[in-house]
Amino acid sequence: MKNLIEVKNIKKNYGKKEAVKGISFNVEEDEILGLLGPNGSGKTTTIGMLLGLLKPTSGQIFINNLKLEENRIEILEMINFISPYIELPKKLTVKQNLYVYSKLYKVKNIKERIEYLSEKLRIGELLNSITGELSSGQKNRVSLAKALVNEPKVLLLDEPTASLDPEVGDFVRTFLEEYKKEKKISILLASHNMNEVTRLCKSVLMMKNGEIVDQGKPEDLITKHGRTNLEEVFLKLSRSKSESN
């Protein structure tokens, strides 16, 4: 399988603080890689560097064999991002927002693309609603539609189902599984929901203090650490240093 994301020994320092300490990983085509770690472990910094919002102190990032540093625009055309911490303009209707972003990503056949996403994500009846007046679950699906408007090859997801009720959360997870299978895209998923990660991810990276402390298939990590589920593995690895101290 072809690697759509290649991260080679990236570091990020904020002054003397080392936020990310030289990590490397790949994400294959048609793969969801889980990025796990406690708060402050460097997940958001890593995603920020993949999006070109943060400049690595050193190291290299390749997306679809293109070096990010030299091909920022070409790469941004083929990736997208969703996070509960960013929103779409609240005063615009859903349709206006999707139309604006379709233009920014130079989408051809905008009408067909919005219709396709509306059907898949069940937001057809919301198209003329004001975005700021939607519920959390509706906003989440609209944000997902925005993130897919450019048919990305690489999707970066930061807590995509945070604050969603179980039904909507399950809908989003099912949608992501099917969409990934259909389009053969790569997804990097940062999440604190271990059930979600176990269900969606082929393999996971465990980060702590800016480093990758373990990685592998969820079931292999559970066996390796002698635990019964991924949450217990997460807790063991998160607490390991503080216990030894």
């Binding site: 943060l54 625009i73 997208n80 911490y85 960013i86 929103e87 303009p89 005063k91 130079k106």
Partner: protein
């Protein structure tokens, strides 16, 4: 009433102010600028009571010109701030847009916003006060163009500050125009300023624009040099603002401001 809770809420704002250089700057310079500006205006009218006798519309014309500058600059800043307020900032900067495309789009939108405000103001002055800004003739276009460029330049400079310092720079965004107003000689000739302030004023395009507006309306003559110098300084500051914006964008990428637009 709990003094502890009152003190707690006071501390919330006090800590915020002491952690933010733009907020401290805003507190310090605002009163000083107001006093300086109105001091010069009062001083001028006290010593030159007959200066505007033969040109009733001069003050109003200058007010419209200044308002256009203000609207252009604030309009540009507003567009940038809207993205921060709506938490859409990150979405914008992960879209495949070049910095030049973002700036060009904002520059065009700011112009349309300013014209929406300007046209009714121009139309109102004639029936209400019996004067017309169109008395400035063809040079009105050049004066507006010059003001537009300077307004955009200030907008880009402030946006660079927002990129570098985050939303705490917002207060500066609102008050940039007032900071420059005393040096702009909007309502009084440059001779009203102390000599040291005159030297600073000559480094800004504003003084040439407003001096020329008064010159045309009061003396009925055109000094093409004023228009020329205004454009020269505009070109200089505009280039500087673009360079600073690129610098701030790169600094924000190093510092992480683009993914962390909080207070």
């Amino acid at each position: 009433m709990s003094l502890t809770r009152i003190y707690g809420l006071f501390l919330r704002h006090f800590y915020l102010i002491t952690r933010s250089f733009p907020r401290i700057l805003d507190l310090v310079y605002w009163p000083s600028i107001q006093i300086t500006l109105w001091g010069f205006i009062s001083n001028f009218f006290a010593t030159h009571t007959t200066y505007y006798n033969n040109a009733v519309g001069v003050i109003l014309t200058c007010a419209i010109l200044y308002d256009f500058l203000f609207r252009t600059s604030i309009g540009f800043n507003m567009l940038f701030l809207e993205e921060i307020w709506s938490r859409n900032f990150t979405n914008l900067f992960i879209a495949p847009m070049r910095i030049g495309e973002i700036l060009t789009s904002l520059v065009i939108t700011a112009l349309i916003r300013s014209l929406i405000g300007l046209i009714p103001a121009i139309l109102l002055t004639s029936p209400l006060f019996g004067i017309s800004i169109l008395d400035l003739g063809i040079f009105l276009f050049f004066l507006f163009l010059s003001l537009y460029f300077f307004g955009i330049t200030l907008g880009i400079l402030v946006s660079s500050g927002l990129l570098r310092f985050g939303p705490s720079f917002e207060n500066i965004a609102w008050s940039t125009m007032f900071l420059l107003a005393p040096f702009g000689c909007i309502y009084y000739p440059i001779e009203t300023l102390p000599e040291i302030f005159q030297k600073i004023a000559y480094l800004l395009p504003l003084v040439y624009i407003f001096e020329e507006a008064r010159n045309i309306l009061i003396n009925q003559t055109v000094n093409i040099e004023n228009v020329y110098y205004a454009f020269m300084w505009n070109a200089f500051y505009f280039s500087l603002s673009i360079a600073l914006f690129y610098y701030s964008f790169n600094a924000a990428k190093n510092k992480g401001t683009l993914i962390n637009m909080g207070e």
